[in-house]
């Protein structure tokens, strides 16, 4: 015999199951906009049937159903898409940082504009040309000095802004490393909880969503490898180094990240982008700037000193020492001098007797870089120390040489350096100019900056597209569709209603049996 209450039990099971379904639908709707949430579905199955009970072993085919039960509630998620997302996201991370860095560099160099280095450099050459017309006059000398100071300031300022940028990147690296560690802690904690829950045979759906969301975030910061272990732990490798193992997080340090960068363990993501920006991109432009400063001051450049010029006593060119009468050049002399300094030191200042000029640019200390680049202190204090003349009337040892003030050869040679080929030290940059005018070098730099920046932007856009595409696929699988949830809700509601009706029917049956039967003749 079947139990009297069999139907009630079946109805109850149905009510519970439909309710579980509706609750899950409710949970899905509630989390429709929760980042990282994957929709959950309720798995149902008919409960174990029983033999159709008769007095004897039934020979009738079929079994009696006992209703329904919830077999699982699980999230709908595709691990493969997760992997794809993490891989695309890390490239997006580093290109974003690189594009940002290059955009900032573009802002620092501020070209083309009337305030960039080009303008300052041009003004510097112009001032020498202006000076050549009026070399005797202190006013035009001051113009040269002011323009040289402007050039020096521009180099110093640009260098400072670039090194400031490097400092910012270092700070950013440390902040981001802290963030990675926070995330690692959270993953370790979630590992623990998920393991505990799943150990009991349940699905830790929401916790797993949270853990995957954290990996999403982490994947933008560096190259992440996630190994899924039997124990439902995630073993996470970040930048080639084990970040999370079981319940434990191994914190990263900036030094460790830098080592991973050098060893190619860290090869993408924001942290990679930060270190690359700082040590490679920004450093490259700083190196080039330093090279420019050093070359204009001291770099090899060929000049032709016209006949009639008088070289300072004891000057050595091409193995010939110029002394006494042969100091006065009888024909044009083409020689290589060491930048503006080398050329300037061939000139004379207006003292009596004439004195050989000193260096024009100098270093504030240490090797000459864009940061230490400065105008020689003597010239800064006294513009009369700027030489314009390459000619003296040689005198005796006692009287000394008398400078020819109207000679403007040096000033002309200086302004002519604008078009002369300087020799630049090769540096590990993509600029590649080792011989060219000062302008060529700077233009090469700006062209390179433009190309790099544009490439970074393009890469950023492409990777964004890729990430969006994968995310779309992922959303397509895991995202909550409200229409779908509503449709389910209606379905479940009807099922629930019907189960309730079953319950009512059973109730009525029993009512009939209990209250209305056996009352014949009453």
């Amino acid at each position: 015999m079947t139990s009297t209450f069999h139907g009630i039990e079946t109805a109850k099971r149905s009510l519970f199951t439909q309710m579980a379904g509706m609750n899950t639908t409710g949970h899905n709707i509630a989390n429709a906009s929760t980042p990282g949430y994957s929709r959950q579905i309720v798995g149902t199955a008919a409960t174990r049937p029983i033999e159709v009970p008769t007095l004897h072993k039934s020979t009738a085919p079929g079994q009696l159903g006992t209703g329904v039960e919830v077999t699982y509630i699980k999230r709908v998620r595709d691990q493969f898409l997760d992997e794809q997302y993490w891989n695309a996201n890390r490239s997006l991370g580093d290109w974003e940082i690189q594009a940002g860095t290059l955009a900032k560099l573009e802002a620092i160099f501020n070209e083309p504009s009337d305030a960039g280095l080009t303008t300052v450099i041009n003004n510097f050459w112009k001032s020498w040309s202006e000076f050549s017309k009026d070399p005797e006059n202190v006013t035009s000398r001051k113009i040269v000095r002011e323009n040289a100071l402007a050039l020096v300031d521009a180099f110093n300022e640009t260098s400072k802004k670039i090194t400031d940028m490097q400092t910012d990147l270092t700070r950013s690296l440390s902040v981001n490393a802290d963030h990675v560690n926070t995330l690692a802690e959270q993953i370790a904690q979630l590992n623990y909880e998920i393991n505990r829950i799943e150990g009991l045979g349940d699905n830790a759906n929401d916790l797993k969503d949270q853990r995957d969301l954290i990996i999403d975030e982490l994947s933008k910061m560096g190259n992440v490898i996630v190994e899924r272990e039997e124990s439902s732990y995630y073993r996470v490798l970040f930048g080639g180094v084990e970040l999370v193992q079981g319940n434990n997080a191994n914190p990263v340090t900036t030094a460790g990240l830098e080592a991973a960068y050098t060893g190619n363990g860290l090869n993408s993501g924001e942290l990679f982008g930060i270190i690359k920006s700082r040590d490679s991109i920004v450093q490259d432009y700083l190196d080039q700037l330093n090279e420019m400063a050093n070359t204009i001051a001291n770099g090899d450049v060929e000049v032709t000193i016209p006949a009639g010029s008088v070289l300072p006593e004891g000057t050595v060119f091409n193995g010939i020492t110029y002394t006494g009468a042969n100091r006065t050049l009888t024909s044009d002399l083409t020689v290589t001098v060491k930048g503006i300094n080398g050329l300037h030191q061939l000139g004379y200042i207006f003292t009596s007797p004439a004195q050989r000029a000193g260096e024009f640019f100098s270093s504030k200390g240490g090797p000459l870089t864009a940061a230490s680049f400065s105008l020689s202190a003597a010239i800064e204090q006294d513009p009369n120390r700027i030489a314009s003349s390459l000619r003296v009337i040689p005198g005796t040892v006692a009287t000394g040489d008398q400078v020819v003030k109207g000679n403007n050869t040096l000033a002309l040679l200086m302004s002519g350096l604008r078009d002369k080929m300087f020799t630049f030290n090769p540096i590990s940059s993509n600029n590649g100019i080792t011989k060219g005018t000062f302008d060529d070098y700077y233009r090469g730099m700006m062209g390179q900056l433009g190309v790099q920046s544009r490439e970074a932007l393009r890469q950023q856009e492409n990777n964004q597209l890729l990430v969006d595409q994968v995310d779309n696929r992922r959303q397509s699988v895991s995202g909550v569709s409200l229409d779908e949830e509503m449709a389910n809700l209606i379905k479940l509601q009807h099922a629930y209603g019907a189960a309730s009706r079953l319950m009512t029917t059973m109730d009525q049956n029993l009512d009939r049996v209990i209250n209305s039967m056996g009352i014949v003749g009453r």
Partner: protein, 298 residues
């Protein structure tokens, strides 16, 4: 596998589309408001190198034009001065002709002598002419007066040119040395020497000597004119250079404009297109976002 479409996907897509439309608009807006299509190197990496080149060429061109202007001022001043030298030398020649030919009473010769002396002094003063506080006839020794009242006949000047540059390579010496005008020291036709000898000859009424000086002075006058026409030739040359620099400036400016400047008509047109696309994306998004099964479940 058929793609399930979820509101989250549509939302993401919509935001991206609207955003990229906005970025495009912002970009074109920027082009219009700055008037430049090249605002940073990445806008046109090749263009930036041209842009910087044009800028630096324009800058130096500007300076070369200034140099040409200064040179012209210098030459104009020299021309005026040499003109004056020529005029008074002509006057000396007339006086000399009068003294050498025919008979002159002693008073007349004295008067001529006095005028010759004045002319001599005037020539010294012209020979020591200064422009911008520089002696223009003493080569590069611009801080030293070339002629002394007494020593002038035996004084030479510095002959080095003062070079002004009007292009990358070539320069032009814009000064003319005193020797070219007045003659080298101890030359027969040194103007100062002639006048000194004339004065002596006038004192002794030595007609033969005067006659000889007449020839010397004639030679000198020719040379003064040669010097003057050299100044004229240089001025012409600089005028030509100036014109060329002016043309070059126009050419470079127009090339710079092509690289740097916004094409307004085109950009406004594109911006209008962007606007339409943006509006369409907003409108369709608004429509799609509103709809849901909920609207139909009653």
């Amino acid at each position: 596998m058929a793609l399930r479409v979820t509101p989250g996907m549509m939302n993401l897509q919509m935001m991206r589309n609207i955003n990229s439309n906005l970025i495009r608009m912002d970009h074109n807006q920027n082009k219009l408001s700055t008037g430049m299509k090249l605002n940073k190197p990445s806008d046109d990496p090749v263009g930036i190198t041209y842009s910087l080149r044009y800028r630096s060429e324009l800058s130096i061109n500007d300076q070369l034009q200034k140099n040409a202007e200064s040179a012209v001022s210098w030459l104009e001043f020299s021309d005026t001065t040499v003109g004056q030298i020529n005029d008074i030398s002509q006057r000396a020649y007339e006086l000399l002709v009068r003294a050498a030919n025919g008979t002159n009473p002693e008073e007349a010769l004295d008067a001529i002598n006095i005028e010759i002396e004045q002319i001599y002094e005037q020539l010294i003063s012209l020979g020591n002419s200064k422009f911008n506080d520089k002696y223009i006839f003493n080569g590069q020794l611009t801080d030293q007066a070339p002629y002394d009242q007494l020593l002038a006949p035996t004084q030479g000047t510095d002959t080095h040119g003062i070079l002004y540059k009007f292009s990358e390579g070539s320069g032009l010496s814009i000064n003319i040395s005193g020797q070219d005008i007045f003659g080298e020291p101890n030359d027969d036709d040194n103007l100062f020497a002639i006048l000194t000898r004339v004065q002596t000859a006038l004192g002794s009424d030595d007609k033969t000597a005067l006659q000889a000086e007449l020839e010397n002075l004639k030679d000198r006058l020719v040379k003064i004119n040669e010097a003057r026409s050299e100044i004229g030739a240089k001025t012409n040359r600089i005028d030509l250079i100036s014109n060329r620099l002016g043309d070059l400036e126009m050419n470079i400016t127009s090339m710079q404009s092509k690289v740097e400047d916004t094409d307004y008509a085109e950009t406004i047109l594109v911006l209008k297109q962007n606007e339409s696309v943006y509006q369409a994306s907003l409108a369709t998004s608004a429509k799609i976002m509103q709809m849901s099964l909920l609207d139909y479940l009653r």
